[in-house]
């Protein structure tokens, strides 16, 4: 049995978790700057790194108490070192290093994106080879995994992330940030009345582009305003969401067709979107041999439990860091060599 404590502070959430064998969450304390966790009394500090600094020790205490473990029960300290905001990453990294040094535990460096994918293990163990569709505010990627800890990007966004396009369309509709959930709910009340363009739909490969869709939605709204017309927000949301889902599902289908994987993981903040989950569930009827493993909704956003899950892969592979580990704000997976894949 391997029990890891994990630290995550790459963006808006400060989180510490205790995870057993990469699949059982013993505790997961999350303080967010967006909707302050009830437990913390509703204080929402305004500055990211200060917020992290304020909450890192509190979330640590809560994670240990909730899991009912002592530092001597732990086998390692997993921590996100990128990608993310450097000032925010540093707080979690320093917290993890300090904890590792104080309790003489090995430090395990974790890629935040690997964490999002590994959180699928909280649903059911990922079966390899696997394909992961990772969709969040900062990333939109199709990732091929031959085995645990082997990540290659098949396709990614050329410009905006899918979650980012949700937030920006949300701003246009005066919805609160982050807007993903609100648009999802609006979309379910509306009809698809506008056929938004599918960027790159005709191009080969597995890449995405959402900047053109964002512009098309803006143009639609502006042109309607100029003509003195009003577009039903519900219909606009439904049409926008339909275009995003069509792009995501279309590329995923192509990748599943070209690469014989045993499971499809849906990960990242946008994985909580009910429209996307439903569309992928439908798609999987065409691929009965592939297990569909969406990350459980409560672990789709940023959290430390997922870092504990990915950290367990590193622990098994004996990937450890010295205490001089630094942040890597631009960390990403390597690109797949598609020419080579074709020859295999």
């Amino acid at each position: 049995m391997t029990t890891l404590i994990a630290f995550e502070s790459s963006a808006d959430e400060t989180s510490v978790a205790v995870v057993k064998d990469g699949k059982t969450v013993l505790s997961n304390a999350v303080a967010t700057q967006i909707n302050s966790h009830q437990r913390f009394g509703g204080i929402v500090p305004e500055v990211a790194s200060r917020h992290h600094l304020e909450w890192i020790t509190k979330t640590l205490d809560i994670a240990l108490a909730d899991a009912k473990v002592q530092p001597e029960d732990l086998d390692g300290v997993a921590v996100t070192y990128g990608p993310g905001l450097v000032g925010s990453l540093l707080v979690g990294l320093m917290g993890a290093k300090t904890f590792a040094m104080a309790h003489d535990l090995p430090l395990i460096p974790v890629n935040h994106l690997a964490g999002h994918i590994a959180a699928a293990n909280f649903n059911q163990p990922i079966v390899f080879p696997a394909l992961a569709l990772m969709v969040s505010g900062g990333h939109t990627e199709l990732v091929l995994m031959e085995e645990p800890n082997d990540f290659h990007i098949l396709g990614e966004t050329f410009d905006d992330a899918a979650g980012e396009s949700y937030d920006k369309v949300g701003r246009l509709l005066n919805l609160p940030y982050p807007a993903g959930k609100a648009i999802d709910e609006l979309a379910h009340k509306g009809q698809v009345t506008i056929d938004f363009p599918q960027a790159m739909a005709k191009e080969a490969g597995y890449d995405f582009s959402f900047s053109g869709l964002k512009s098309a939605v803006i143009n639609q709204v502006h042109n309607a305003e100029q003509r003195g017309e009003t577009i039903k927000e519900e219909d606009l949301a439904a049409s926008f969401q339909a275009a995003v889902i069509k792009a995501l599902v279309g590329r995923t289908k192509r990748a599943l067709t070209d690469f014989p994987v045993k499971s499809l993981v849906l990960a990242g903040g946008v994985a909580a979107n009910s429209g996307l989950r439903a569309a992928l569930t439908d798609l999987m009827a065409d691929f009965p041999a592939v297990d569909f493993i969406p990350v459980p909704k409560q672990y789709t956003g940023d959290n430390a439990a997922m870092i504990g899950a990915a950290g367990y892969w590193n622990y098994q592979d004996k990937i450890f860091s010295d205490l001089d580990l630094n942040t890597n704000p631009g960390l990403d997976f390597p690109l797949a060599d598609l020419n080579q894949q074709d020859n295999e």
């Binding site: 963006a11 700057q33 305004e46 500055v47 990211a48 790194s49 200060r50 990608p83 993310g84 905001l85 450097v86 000032g87 969040s136 505010g137 900062g138 990333h139 990614e156 966004t157 050329f158 410009d159 905006d160 992330a161 979650g163 980012e164 937030d167 920006k168 701003r171 246009l172 940030y177 900047s211 964002k214 512009s215 803006i218 143009n219 502006h222 042109n223 100029q226 704000p329 631009g330």
Partner: protein
């Protein structure tokens, strides 16, 4: 103050290529304009002209993306998310006025950190065709020379 009109993203990127010839280490360029006005498109054109081969994606989430492989480093900021968070204490000022050229989208959300010498660019959608843009360029302090030398 100079004003340019572009009719599509290709023309916007052509103007960026002209600017790429004039940029120097330490230059700060602010890119103001609404969502979808062409700020990231412009940055992609400038990056390519600087010899940067990796994909220039929207920095909205990370706030800062850095590219080191071009003629000079490119620091691509997007302060969009700082509207609520504030720009203080993030260490961003360490990147301004150093060894690279810095492009800043949504500069109004990190106004306190902007140097007095800078090139201000404003992107506006024109009424009529969806892809028409007016791009206004204004040099402040030492960047005045760039405004004069820039020809679209």
């Amino acid at each position: 103050m100079k004003s340019y009109q572009t009719n599509n993203s290709k023309e916007t990127q052509a103007l960026a290529e002209q600017l790429a010839k004039l940029v120097y280490p330490g230059l700060v360029v602010t890119l103001q304009g609404d969502l979808g006005a062409g700020k990231t498109t412009f940055t992609q054109g400038l990056a390519k002209a600087l010899g940067i081969t990796s994909r220039v994606k929207s920095p909205t989430f990370n706030i800062l993306n850095t590219y080191e492989e071009g003629r000079i480093p490119l620091y691509h900021f997007d302060a969009y998310r700082l509207e609520n968070m504030g720009a203080a204490d993030q260490g961003f000022e360490d990147y301004l006025g150093t060894d690279g050229v810095t492009l800043i989208e949504w500069p109004q959300y990190m106004a306190d950190l902007l140097p007095n010498d800078r090139l201000e660019m404003t992107f506006t959608r024109m009424a009529g065709a969806d892809s028409d843009r007016e791009i206004v360029v204004r040099g402040l302090g030492q960047a005045t020379q760039i405004e004069e030398d820039l020809h679209g």
